[in-house]
Symmetry: D2
Subunit: 122 residues, 4 copies
């Protein structure tokens, strides 16, 4: 699996800064573990919501105010659950060949039409 060598090259082993770079790292990571067979979009969408549940679990018994004031340890745990959601979201976008940032921009335009800002007519 020659593509794996890229993974060790100075270029590709630099820390991911963008979603496409993150997608490339994740692709190599899954290939090196033969996980492609499991990563049907259906399964990735399931894994994503499972992680979203682990994320919500941190908040389920908190009041809204408490959820704004997490301690540093809990915040770290929450950050890693959020990372899990992002990692599956990026892998899903790769497997479907979807440009996630482009989709986000489109959705923001749609949202701006759907929910006009107060006073935006002035």
């Amino acid at each position: 699996m020659g593509a794996m060598h890229d993974d060790a090259s100075p270029h590709s082993s630099a820390p991911a800064q963008t979603l496409p770079e993150l997608a490339l790292r994740l692709k190599h990571f899954a290939q090196a573990r033969d996980w492609g067979q499991f990563h049907a979009p259906k399964n990735l969408a399931s894994a994503l919501i499972v992680e979203a549940g682990e994320l919500l679990e941190h908040f389920q018994w908190l009041t809204e105010d408490q959820s704004r004031q997490l301690g540093s340890e809990q915040k770290q745990a929450v950050a890693h659950e959020m990372a899990d959601v992002l990692l599956y979201l990026v892998q899903l976008s790769s497997s479907l060949n979807i440009d996630l940032m482009q989709a986000a921009r489109e959705k923001m335009v749609l949202n701006a039409v759907k929910y006009p800002a107060k006073g935006s007519e002035s």
Copy 2:
């Protein structure tokens, strides 16, 4: 609400290319609609999983193979559900002051330790 003026500046109205730029657009979008009161982390984590459910709904009755071969219309719908997940994830990261890309990098390091690659010992 002077901060809103930034939203109309040449710089900040350029399409978001990175997660921090997306976060800034979303912050202005929510401020212009007075949504800050609703956006406690607890609520954003709820909204995120609700969107993850809408995403999974597209796949629930498909076989894994069918999920790899979405038609263009369904793929567009899926892309927008994925965008919804990303938009809430980014807003949650803002409200908790979490660097999402940094968290993703940390989680990938942890995953590499937890799931060693086959043949990685050679």
Copy 3:
């Protein structure tokens, strides 16, 4: 499909009062629509969480207090989302041959050990 005739019999067409009766109605309902092929446990578990998301959607922007004071229309909508969750839960229990009420009783015993009641030692 002779089993369908049972569905029209005086006995089985009586309104379901218990989970096993509900399970029987749902089995006939799915058989009459040839849905067995879609109802793998994996898919039913996906459908269940999708409905759980539609349920949560009613509450995501409410305060805890507001969630205790739903109007009658919203309460009706919530009741039907809860029904959807129950219907998939019951179908999943049928497909796995699991006695849901028995599992609930077992889990309550485990919970009583895990979370002793205050003052329960007296």
Copy 4:
């Protein structure tokens, strides 16, 4: 907390056989632990979907066929996750004063209209 005494009475300590009996046991269980303050419908709906995620986790990497053939140990674990979903669903129905079985019957009538059975016109 005199109501707790009921919990130890021969009648109410009999194993729950129906959803209303289960609801009563859960009410006493929560009261004995002072959990009422946490059990706003919003929070119960969150806890429910978190458990639905733990349930789905068992299936996320399985094929549909594998999900039909769980081993006995995994089936037991799945049964207890399903119980968790049911326990929160029942507590939510209590807190909203919703008759879950009645809602399920209503939803089945609506589904029969929405999805007519094949050949049901004969």
